[in-house]
Symmetry: C2
Subunit: 413 residues, 2 copies
């Protein structure tokens, strides 16, 4: 039986839905990769009774219970008391924990006060876990049939303590069955089309999952047991064969583009209307982007398109800014003015609401054009429509523009 782990995340702020919990996903991901099975994940309020109940329930069925949060020195921090209640024992000051708290305070130039000293109190019979990144020690104890670990709620402290004090002990507490995984990304394909293309690939001991990343789709292959790595590799290779140019390695598309530009010693530039700088921002998010991206334009108004990129005013008046012709002129104007090998342009309507062409035709929200210019090659323009909200239209359009670059660099453009 694979080791079963239950997570209990403590904190009133998590329950109101105003703060997204980050510790749960991090722990679940780490545990799953290590080969444990996360069977439930409970958010509980700060109240001692609530946390005690959540911990008690988890300890009835899970091999390991991991609690996060509520170990600090303030009145909100009720996890120590909750563990004592759940275990039916009292809280006692622990010498080793006291030494840890005192040393951590000293390292911060503070003396131990009465409040901080509370952090050294553990349920009787529990042992403490050192906190490499903060003051409050963690707690390890038996509860029912489970082994329980209580970790701080501050992500940095929680992560360090998990990696040093919990992860190495999991193998002794039950069977771990680590998964082999492989991932690919695609852009520009709809989920049902990907599913159709990959039909039959899940099965034979390989599970296939699709995870959307705002305009990109991650395809993840997972297998366990004998020969898992080979099975996963074979499935991923077959998926690459079937999806062809639509698929790339498991990195965000902006990293794929920066990598491909570097590999070919080329420089790209951007001319953005619709996306207002998003494509440039994505490219420059990648460390080392300065080798392949020197700058770009945000040309939000007609006047800027004309003044910065030389888009003919006649074209803007006759065709309108959201047109194939203007997208082409933007890309060509950018390529001419930048010291660059490739240029992409974006113009469109993010909304809310649609727009009108100079001839009065309605242009629906989400309409956009991607221009792509390259010296010595005929400029291409793609027309798309993403019937979504403003933010999503912009994000999808930026990913489309990056995908045009990526495919051109891969020789499939």
């Amino acid at each position: 039986m694979t080791l079963e782990v239950a997570l209990v995340l403590v904190g009133d702020e998590l329950l109101g839905g105003t703060r997204q919990d980050a510790n749960g996903p991090w722990l679940a991901n780490r545990l799953t990769r290590a080969g444990a099975r996360v069977t439930s994940w409970t958010l509980a309020g700060d109240g001692v009774a609530e946390a005690a109940r959540a911990v008690g329930v988890a300890a009835e069925y899970a091999d390991v219970v991991i609690v996060s949060g509520g170990l600090g020195p303030t009145d909100d921090d009720g996890t120590r008391a909750a563990l004592a209640v759940a275990g039916g024992v009292e809280l006692v000051e622990d010498d080793e924990a006291l030494d840890l708290v005192r040393a951590a305070q000293r390292a911060r130039g503070s003396e131990l006060d009465a409040r901080r000293r509370l952090e050294a109190r553990l349920p009787r019979g529990a042992t403490c876990l050192a906190n490499p990144e903060g003051t409050a020690p963690g707690i390890a104890m038996r509860l029912g049939r489970s082994t329980l670990f209580a970790l701080p709620g501050v992500p940095r402290e929680m992560q360090a303590m998990f990696d040093t004090a919990v992860l190495p002990r999991l193998g002794d507490l039950g069977d771990l069955d680590p998964a082999s995984t492989a991932s690919l990304r695609t852009s520009g394909l709809r989920e049902p089309d990907i599913q159709d293309a990959l039909a039959g690939l899940d099965g034979g001991g390989v599970a296939l999952g699709l995870y959307p990343h705002q305009g990109e789709q991650e395809i993840r292959f997972t297998a366990r047991g004998e020969g898992a790595e080979e099975r996963v590799e074979a499935a991923a290779a077959e998926a690459r064969r079937r999806l062809g140019a639509a698929v790339y390695g498991n990195v965000p598309i902006e990293e794929a583009v920066v990598g491909a530009l570097k590999a070919r010693g080329l420089v790209g530039t951007t001319a953005e209307s619709l996306t207002g700088g998003l494509v440039a921002r994505m490219l420059t998010e990648v460390p080392g982007a300065s080798d392949v991206f020197r700058g770009g334009w945000v040309v939000y108004s007609d006047a800027w398109k004309a003044a910065r990129l030389g888009v003919p005013e006649r074209l803007l008046a006759e065709r309108g800014a959201v047109s194939k012709e203007v997208a082409r002129a933007m890309a060509e104007g950018a390529l001419e003015r930048a010291e660059a090998d490739l240029a992409v342009s974006l113009t469109g309507i993010a909304g809310p609401g649609g727009g009108a062409a100079p001839d009065g035709t309605l242009i629906p929200q989400g309409t956009f054009y991607v221009g792509f210019a390259r010296a010595g090659v005929r400029t291409r323009v793609e027309h798309h429509r993403a019937p979504h909200s403003r933010t999503i239209v912009r994000r999808r359009a930026a990913v489309r523009a990056l995908d045009v670059l990526r495919r051109a660099l891969d020789g499939n453009g």
Copy 2:
């Protein structure tokens, strides 16, 4: 006693930590605003036994249990069976549910097949809830001392069913105690400084929460009961008085800037190195930004700073791109070239790793300069350091630049 609600979110994909659950936060937020108290929130796997256990535990203490997910027609969808197990009853086909499923399929141009027909099976004694946005009906039933509602997992369907079939019934199931809330945002203050400044404001029946939003801090005031609204308003007004120009209304800073520019009929422009288009992207994320932002430059290399904005090459060679002088020249060059009233510039080192000035001095990672130029006013440059990772440095710097604009527009710059 305020109505207590437990959430149970069903789906294997939620447990591995690879997909963030969006239904929990939405439900918790909605319920909290309606005046219910969300006491726990459990993620459970698809397995019937697991979901049944989670539901059974929740029904032991909560007044209302809301289950989301697992109502579809595939083999993964085990919620119907889990509810039957938890209630100790069998699943039976429900006439009303069958009518709903048949009508929904017909509206999609499909006939009812055997698989879809499974969606009409309910635990004996339960009633169905119409699905305004999809096929699978929801379920309402008594379980232990609780009233249980099972909703679909697709957010659009879940939200519509919650609003039409669950929310109106909550008042009959227990006491609701809706909260009055007010929010302010600040930027550029550290959390401990905000806490010091607001000391004593929480208490007197007003709870105060601080929620970080990547470089901005939201300060939220919450109160319940008699006179809650007045208490919340008084606390927010006092916070405004104490924090002065550091505080603005409860909108993201880019919205505050676009709003202030509109109110004053002014146009801004951007010259970005460090942030690579992030400031322009943030401004243009706001609908209607085209009234106050016509375009901007991403000048990532020295050559672009010189060619586009006229930054003297001598300055770049002598002072280096990451310098007060270059930040000033960028802002002034942008203002001169754009048809704009205000210009902000950003130059710095996002990392990974630091850089070196022309004289060999080390410039630590996270160092950045914000320039601010305005016709007829002496250009100002702020020097900052954000000792964080690349993405966070860039985000913090963008928020600082927007805050410089905001303060200037508020007359406190």
